[in-house]
């Protein structure tokens, strides 16, 4: 007996950047392809900077997205302004493409709630990143239900890791999405590890995509290191969802090249050889090779791009570092729409605390 359900698997580019399948019509739009490339590079440079900021104590714990840029960039370039993103903590790439500013992302990881108050109109209905694993899957279904009730042509994308697919929330979300044919696309970022626990310990199912089958809808696998493959499948899935044809689950197979977070040390549980092999698959090099072979990219353009990205990143770091701290009252301001009188004057309590701490510092 086999528990394998035959599911599609999409890949256009092999690790050397050679075409292994015929690209869809957009495949000769080199503006699009170079744009995807630029976005991945920007994400990677920002990500590197964020890790460096953590290492020097300027932000707190950060979850690197190294190696998974293709997934986020593909989703981000296909979401329309009125679609909704319900992300998790490793979604820097998609967030950047939704207009979330780099300084907002740094503020969030730097311990400041303002980082989730996105200023760009594109992300105004997007959820903040989700830290409790898999809970966002259900929120996405709630958003999708609202869209469906109102008869709108919009879609929701929600992302999660492979570990998240073990949680009840995820399975309950698939179930309701299938039962109600909700306009939601589940993107599983299968990066092979949930902190120290490898994919095979999460589930006995040979693919994570087949979990959709039990819920009555379509699931498939995609090479998550091939941005063109992810682009193609997300485009298809979003189009279906917007036209009321129900949910899709895309399992994007990639690899977490970095530590789980800056608080983690992946060498404790992971083979160096495995990581080395995974570097051969990484998404940026792959698209770069393809573009270079098509003469759409060269060393000069690469240098210019890197300089431009570094300028953007540095400007964002400067803005972040000049943002100052929130006023103390901010911790009370948004807990309730209006602070209930019956809870007493906790503002006064906090202001007294501030005064005491300032006095304490004065003695130092």
């Amino acid at each position: 007996m086999s528990n394998r359900i035959e599911l599609p698997y999409t890949r256009f580019l092999d690790p050397e950047g050679r075409l292994v399948g015929e690209l869809p019509a957009w495949g000769d739009d080199f503006n699009l392809l170079t744009d995807l490339y630029r976005r991945m590079v920007l994400t990677r440079l920002f990500d590197q900077k964020a890790v460096a900021l953590q290492r020097t104590g300027r932000i707190g714990t950060y979850a690197p997205t190294l190696g998974q840029e293709a997934i986020g960039v593909a989703i981000g370039s296909l979401l329309r302004d009125d679609d909704v993103l319900v992300p998790y903590y490793r979604d820097t790439a998609v967030q950047l493409m939704r207009g979330v500013r780099m300084e907002e992302i740094l503020l969030y990881w730097g311990g400041d709630e303002r980082g989730s108050d996105f200023q760009d109109p594109r992300s105004k209905e997007d959820f903040p990143i989700c830290v409790p694993i898999a809970t966002q899957s259900l929120h996405a279904c709630g958003v999708a239900t609202a869209i469906k009730i109102r008869g709108q042509h919009r879609a929701v994308v929600t992302t999660c890791g492979d570990g998240a697919t073990s949680k009840g929330d995820f399975l309950e979300a698939l179930n309701v999405a299938g039962a109600w044919q909700l306009p939601v696309v589940f993107v599983v970022n299968n990066n092979q590890w949930a902190i120290s626990v490898p994919r095979r310990i999460q589930s006995g199912a040979p693919t994570l995509a087949q979990k959709a089958i039990g819920a009555g809808f379509h699931g498939e696998q995609v090479d998550g290191n091939d941005v063109l493959a992810v682009y193609d499948r997300v485009q298809w899935a979003l189009d279906r969802a917007r036209h009321g044809k129900g949910p899709v689950l895309l399992e994007c197979i990639s690899y977490r090249l970095g530590d789980h977070t800056t608080a983690d040390d992946a060498t404790r549980y992971r083979d160096a050889d495995e990581v080395k092999a995974a570097w051969q698959e990484e998404p940026i090099k792959r698209l770069q090779a393809f573009l270079a072979a098509s003469e759409a990219w060269d060393e000069g353009r690469e240098q210019a791009l890197i300089a431009d990205c570094q300028r953007q990143v540095q400007a964002a770091v400067d803005n972040f570092e000049n943002a100052g701290t929130q006023p103390v009252e901010a911790v009370l301001d948004h807990v309730y729409a209006r602070w209930p009188a019956a809870l007493g004057d906790q503002r006064e309590m906090l202001m007294e605390r501030v005064a005491r701490r300032e006095e304490g510092r004065g003695h130092e």
């Binding site: 714990t61 311990g111 073990s166 608080a263 911790v331 906790q346």
Partner: protein, 333 residues
Amino acid sequence: MSNLNDTLEKRALLEAVNLALHRAMQEDENVVVLGEDVGVNGGVFRATLGLRDRFGFKRVIDTPLAETMIAGLAVGMAAQGLKPVMEIQFLGFIYAAMEHLVSHASRIRCRTRGRLSCPMVLRSPMGAGIRAPEHHSESTEALFAHIPGLRVVIPSSPARAYGLLLSAIDDPDPVIFLEPTRLYRMNPQPIIDDGRRLPLDTCFTLREGSDITLISWGASVHETLQAARMLEERGVSAEVIDVASIKPLDLDTLEASVRKTGRCVIVHEAPRSCGVGAEIAASLYERALLDLQAPIQRVTAPDIPPPLYRLEQLYIPSPEDVLAACELVLNYA
């Protein structure tokens, strides 16, 4: 005695937890550890470090990522006579396990008139102060303390972590054992690994005093002791009590102290409303109203989710905040 202690390795709270787990697993083959990342990685804080190497895959289990499942499994395992010690990686992720704690673990003994029981321990880090991300800084002990059938224990020193965890594992009922992350690596002390248990139903008087009683638990004990030392410099003698077992509460010790000093301040990191501080204050009013010289004061977090880390220090009561409350109580007409 001090000579012996000098030769002993000093251990921080985290290592004391690890030591107790080793000891418990060695003493009783029914003790099984399960949770996310507890095996190869030894837990994200390393509380379970070395257990997998020593006791193997069958007793140190990396589970799929699912808290509801971990808690539900523990109920089933415990009913079979195993003693599951599960780790929930951070207290902020425990809510998925709540259903099993509240609806099953806490009442299976009662429902079956003692035929089945649930001798499990749920360990989880708690509290703010380590610049952790969202949902990693919660102090929700009151949620568990409210549930009949559960015990709730919070150590505030390495030695108490060691002795209390061993008792928690022995206990025939479910115990929620919360470890203040802020203390994990602070103030190491010599620990004798002799398997000595500490009782789960008494408070610990850390400092005797005659003018005022300071009651606290968990990480806040640290700031409370600092406040007591500051009071001493001002000639005020403070008694400091570590509640340690939040449920059931050792009210006798608290009452005796308050009767002696006539004044009381309760310090906790959890939000104020419906916190355990309210329970203690109400009980002390019931028992010792006429011995109190001033209204009991609470020093707590405000009623807000723990802020992200830039403002988290404001959330945590400081020694100066405790001192201010003490002044109010001491100067009460």
